[in-house]
Symmetry: C2
Subunit: 886 residues, 2 copies
């Protein structure tokens, strides 16, 4: 009944229902909240009477009276929406206290300090939450904290706990005076006035700016409303027989089936979280309070069994009596998620399908990345410092010596050094250097910048867009938030948090990688691997989407197969153009004055490209290898800075003017929308011809060796049937010629990337010629939204923060815009070619939410970077399961 | 019966039917052609017999025999598709000649030279067309022309007509030897073999590459096929009682109702076109051959009456007998089109609606532009030279002295000089200079470059993208195809042909402009104006689309109203930012460190923008004025070159580093997809606020003066409902505040430009907030096709030539792609807001084909540059009429 009672309320009622001890209380349903909003803040008829009635039932159960000066009932008021909305949860504890009832509390507890402390806390919380005197942001001083601070100073005390009952009593008076001066009204003494104020405040909080923005971001409907939980207070701070704590039914960090948590003797719940006193490990509770501890263990086991999931619980022990205050599914790391899910299947608590749905697919990447040794990181907190924070662009931990140039990275690595490559931004020229580095750190660029993209594909650690970086390439130094660093200094970057740490921090490789890639660990010696493997097998049995990988490197292709890739979905041929002396031939081709000159240069590239393709085709066996013809604008292969132009001209032995002029001619206002993709192949058919020849010669040679290579030739940036047909003709002709020359037949397809809105709109026409579609959602997002990925970093973050965009459209497919185009393309494409093979090869192919979308619209496969294949396999399985559930 | 007989065949049959003398013949229908293609080049059963039968009927009529050595029948074979496909029409004349029949011809004509000349022509044409020995391109030598040339040289002759019968006879022998050597086969002597060869060749020509490409471009279905016309030859070259000629039933240049044409005594049709002899004016025929001339006049009158349109006819007179060879609607200038259409209504030949459909809307722009005085141009052909050709980007003729810098243009004009501004390309900084110039000439940029766009909007003459230009700004000189020119030299540019002419050529202004704008000509003194006005009135009575104008200048707004604009559809506020000292304030705003600094600079702009808006709103009366908030990326307001940065820093009194850094920060990889449009207003709400304030203060002041201004505030580059809602809130708040302060109410709307694919796809959501949509089809084309307008010039022309694109999508709306998005937006927008006002304000708003599309999808108005308003009014009327016809 989460819809009616909210998450917290549902948990409390469910616990009560199954006999778990919960302080008596009641929940005001979300319906009341929505009624209020629909009727100008008026409550439904009879509501106030219902609340009084419910309260009187609590009074009867606990034997105290709300507002009773002798034996006062205090209550807690807590909001609780259907879905947890952290940061907007409003809570008021100890409600019902006033100058009369505090005396009753003193009498009952025989503890004036406790009573005034509770009173002080109540006035503070109520003023914050209900009267709106909360500090608006971190910079503003909370007036109550300020009064408290002044009191401590005047008394020469350091800790709140050092304050006496009299001090606290005086604080209550000072707080109330503050309320009077700020609001003009006295602090409400009538407990019912307090109650109505608190209920109204919780309802109002549903529609404050922060909550609205939060719901926009997480797509929580405004109509849901929040519930309000009113409960009798229980006190963990009434003496040594009292305690309060939080616990998990299993270890949320590694998933071990072991009760895990913390508690404080003689304390209130908020103290555990606030960290004023250091909490003790839950196991110690057994010694201190054996009976309540045993009860707690029993309760937690039954809750886990009841909810069939690891629970995060809050409890209070008042005079050796256990009270449960909350239970909910516990947040966990990826490691814990896998272990708990697999264990629970083996414990027969959940089914395999339930296990698959239990894991957030994205969290699987935690299993693959190297991590800072936890001990190492503690060292860091003493001697080393977190210097700055950037965007966590490539998860994992890396430590190494600073280098500023790609060549240096390669050189240092050759000498056996680990390095962190620090650049203002990276370019395709830096690929080798990035590969050589442990980690990559850039000052510019977002989560989808070149650095981030390549890093994720390589499985490299990367922190991008760290604006605190001020790099001096010439001097080989950089300044980070006031600290000067130079080439060779040790630096550690945490790609999971975005932190830059001075000095060396120890890392260790992931177990999964040790088994799958390094083969330094036997599967039987790794529980984690075994559980991972089980999970993947279950996922593969369920999923309908195929999973391919984006790569152009043999080693990555090997890794991808180890991770379960069922083919290559995108091989970018241009990356190969940068390697070794190829770039020389590429530049010769660009500078050639006519077709003959271009053909001469292309002839040099042919054998090299052929070897590249042969290696990839061989590794992938009979699985499809989708090879994209040349895509980027030609200027990317030439330098742009004057010095570099002069230098290259000398190296190439061409006049500087010629090169300079070519660079100028190739310059574009909007390269993303310029002379690239199939437009190159149409202007220079000989390029497509050479690439097709390389592909088919490679395939034919393998076929002759008895292998069964399966190339899929993919034409990029197609906007019309005519463009595709023109390129297809070239490829088909070369394929036929080559197969005839080799005397073999090779299975192949010719298809296109769908990455322009126009391609989606005329997909029916294109499908008459094309044998497959592969959605290039990176460019499709750029064109559909009119948003340059490289430039959006300046304003897109504000958009997400302000709720103008639900999320970064380069991370997860913009389903309303880009997704609408994809649906059109699928419908039109399949109308003309029923069995048209369709996939996605944009970065989104590794994003679980986008993978689910791809499943929904009926694609055949997703393609992602090698290190996201496990995520994609799981997400694809989840998509199938969620479809059944929906 | 054009479908079956083709255009030429239908004309011949129709003339025969109504009693006009036509040489006997028959037409092989298009069905035979399509049958052949469907059945591997086999003819339908009985086809050959039918042809022989038809031929025997010709023999009977003319009393000669096909292949008869005594009295031979010669025939012409001419293709004729449904729609004229110039350049692929294959024709063979004099078919039936061989070594025997030529003797018969000699005997009959008693003219051996004529007979061998006909034979020589036949062998040449047949070899070209049927045997495929035609030169492939202009560079290749035609082997037959070469043989002819050698013959003339060896005989010391200059003209073909100087060759004797013997010379010609030898040529026939040489030609046949050439055929034998090239093809290995002898030239066919059998007349029937010749006939089948010619028919087959015409059919084959339907599917040659050139014809396929042509059909792709003009969207002529491949299924249509071509017809073949076989007709008895008549000879205009059989003596002095023979003639041949072409004529128009009215003057195709100015439309005057006067028989107009040319003829040659004793000649064949092709001689008139070839220009070997100078043809005589048709009127002279009356003196030479009074009886055939009278008959010709009678026939032409009856043809015009029959076809209800001015006819373009071909005739031959053989022995004083008139034969008609062709009739078709005549091509005409815009001037002639208007005059003929209006005259024919008054002559009660056609209805007003037929008149409206008779004029190609685009041709109306000829009526508005200044033209080179025809006498002046003849002078030019002697002393002055056409130096080069560029793109005809702004129609009209301009002559003036060369300047290279915008400031110089302004300065020279101030001194009373006419200038032509020559630039590599223009930028918004050049606006004033462009306005000051008579004509604009650029070396880079296409038909929709900045120069072309602004020129058309201003009605300026412009030749763009003239690659022969090599400008040296520093030296103030340029080199055009080998000729050196310097500042101050006279230059003439013809924006209708793209020609660049050295020296001064006289121009005169258009009559329409003299009446409407300059008011130097009384309407009653201009027949052209009166006819134009009648036509426009008829158009306005028919059209459903409104017509607005794109302008931000008061004088342009005045002109637009004179041309009949019903409002402003796009006022680009940023153009105002460049004027005078405003750019200073704009730059201060950009350099400001915080909101306060920006507001200070914006406060300076406010009164200036207000005056701008007030002037426009006042001129437009109660018509809507659509004002777009700031759109371009901010770097457009800053210089980019180091020297300029240094200079500006000094002028502004800011550190060079500050300015340089700002320029660097604002730099974008793809500015088109960058921080612009409403993204600026979202990052800096104070800009939108200032602009809204300027709009509403201007409107309120006018309202106070009793006027009824109607501003429509338009938010650019919106991609989501949230973006629009955020900007709308700012505008509404300012509107309410301002109206309250002034104590008046002003009618206004707030809407958005639809210029991103995403906006089309979520148009329903946007329509919940927006009161109008205006399609920005320039940017929508760029994003939908992934095509940067500024960069596409490098490859788009090839695309159009190769038939990959039907036409330039920046000229006419790409209906399959961009149009599909527009349809989606219209459907979704109207679903949510039934009466949503929708228009188009991209450049396409002035393109007739696009206007028709806008009518079809149900837009409310089009908006175009002032000088295209008449075109838009006519095109809108035609759209309505064609809808009824379809």
């Amino acid at each position: 009944m989460r819809e009616l009672l909210g998450g917290k309320g549902a948990g409390l009622h469910e616990m009560t229902r199954i006999g778990v001890p919960v302080p008596p209380g009641f929940t005001i349903t979300t319906e009341v909240c929505t009624y209020c909003y629909a009727h100008r803040d008026r409550y439904p008829r009879g509501f106030e009477g219902d609340v009084r009635l419910a309260l009187s039932r609590i009074e009867n159960i606990v034997g105290r009276g709300f507002g009773d000066a002798e034996n006062p009932l205090l209550v807690s008021i807590r909001s609780g929406a259907r879905e947890s909305m952290p940061g907007m949860m409003d809570t008021v504890l100890n409600l019902g206290l006033n100058d009369q009832t505090v005396q009753g509390l003193i009498r009952r507890s025989r503890n004036p300090r406790f009573a005034y402390d509770s009173y002080r806390r109540f006035v503070h919380m109520y003023s914050d939450v209900v009267l709106g005197l909360k500090a608006k942001d971190e910079k503003q001083h909370d007036p109550f904290e300020q009064i408290l601070e002044e009191k401590k100073q005047s008394r020469g005390l350091r800790m709140d706990t050092d304050l006496t009952a009299d001090d606290l009593k005086e604080l209550v008076i000072a707080y109330k005076a503050e309320v009077k001066s700020k609001t003009g009204d006295s602090f409400p003494e009538d407990p019912y006035a307090q109650l109505w104020g608190a209920i109204g405040a919780v309802f109002r909080s549903w529609n404050n700016d922060r909550a609205i923005a939060y719901r926009q971001v997480y797509r929580i409907p405004n109509e849901w409303g929040t519930a309000v939980n009113v409960q009798a207070m229980v006190f963990g701070n009434l003496g040594e027989a009292c305690a309060t704590g939080v616990a998990f039914t299993r270890n949320p960090s590694n998933g071990e089936r072991k009760f895990y948590g913390e508690f404080l003797i003689n304390a209130q719940g908020e103290d555990v979280v606030a960290g004023i006193r250091t909490p003790r490990k839950i196991a110690e509770l057994e010694t201190v309070m054996p009976r309540p501890y045993a009860q707690l263990q029993k309760v937690s086991r039954s809750l886990e069994k009841h909810y069939k999931d690891m629970q995060d619980i809050e409890f209070t022990i008042e005079d050796n009596t256990l009270w449960m205050l909350q239970t909910r599914a516990g947040k966990r790391t990826g490691f814990a998620a896998v272990r708990i899910a697999v264990d629970m299947v083996e414990e027969r608590i959940i089914s395999k399908n339930e296990a698959l749905l239990r894991i957030e697919a994205d969290h699987l990447n935690q299993l693959l990345r190297p991590i800072f040794d936890s001990q190492g990181k503690q060292q860091a907190s003493k001697e080393q410092r977190v210097l700055a924070k950037g965007l966590p662009a490539g998860p994992g931990a890396a430590t190494g010596r600073i280098v500023f140039h790609a060549e240096d990275a390669v050189e240092w690595k050759r000498k056996g050094e680990r390095v962190v490559l620090c650049r203002v931004e990276t370019s395709p020229d830096d690929i080798r250097g990035m590969e050589a580095a442990q980690g990559i750190l850039t000052a510019r660029g977002g989560m989808t910048s070149h650095a981030a993209l390549v890093a994720r594909q390589m499985g490299k650690v990367c922190v991008a867009g760290c604006e605190a970086l001020d790099i001096d390439y010439a001097g080989r130094t950089m300044r980070v938030s006031g600290t000067d660093l130079k080439e060779g200094d040790w630096l550690s970057v945490d790609g999971s948090t975005g932190e830059i740490i001075k000095g060396e921090v120890q890392t260790r490789p992931s177990e999964i990688l040790q088994v799958l890639l390094e083969k330094t660990l036997e599967p039987s010696n790794s529980l984690l691997y075994q559980q991972y493997a089980k999970l993947m097998k279950w996922a593969d049995n369920v999923r309908k989407l195929g999973v391919r990988t984006n790569t152009d490197q043999p080693d990555q292709a090997e890794a991808a197969r180890a991770f379960g890739a069922e083919g290559i979905g995108l091989c970018r041929t241009e990356h190969m153009f940068f390697q070794g002396d190829r770039i020389q031939a590429v530049r010769e081709m660009i500078l050639a004055e006519d077709e003959a000159g271009r053909r001469k240069a292309l002839a040099k590239l042919l054998p090299m490209q052929k070897q590249d393709f042969k290696a990839l085709l061989e590794i992938m066996g009979d699985l499809p290898v989708t090879i994209r013809t040349l895509d980027p604008p030609l200027h990317e292969f030439l330098p742009s800075r004057e010095e570099e132009i002069v230098e290259l001209a000398h190296v190439m032995g061409v006049p500087v003017d010629l090169l300079r002029n070519k660079v100028k001619v190739l310059q574009e206002f909007n390269p993303m929308l310029g002379h690239r993709g199939c437009r190159l192949g149409i202007s220079y058919p000989e390029i497509t011809e050479m690439q097709a020849r390389a592909i088919f010669e490679a395939a034919c040679e393998l076929r002759r060796e008895g292998k069964r290579p399966f190339p899929e030739v993919m034409i990029p940036l197609v906007g019309s049937r005519q463009e595709f047909a023109a390129q297809r003709k070239i490829v088909r002709t070369v394929a036929a010629e080559t197969m005839k020359a080799y005397g073999v037949k090779v299975r192949f397809l010719i298809g296109t990337m769908i990455e322009l809105p126009r391609a989606c709109l005329v997909a029916d026409e294109i499908a008459e010629e094309a044998e497959f579609f592969s959605f290039g959602t990176n460019d499709l997002t750029q064109t559909c939204l009119g948003l340059s990925r490289d430039d959006a970093g300046k304003f897109l973050p504000t958009y997400v923060v302000d709720g103008l965009l639900a999320e970064d459209p380069f991370v997860s497919v913009d389903q309303d815009g880009v997704g609408a185009l994809m649906r059109i393309a699928v419908r039109k494409g399949r109308k003309k070619r029923k069995n048209l093979e369709m996939g996605i090869c944009g970065e989104h192919g590794g994003d679980p939410k986008s993978i689910r979308f791809c499943h929904q619209i009926g694609l055949n496969y997703v393609s992602c970077s090698p290190y996201r294949i496990a995520i994609a396999r799981l997400a694809a399985a989840q998509a199938t399961l969620l479809e059944t559930i929906d």
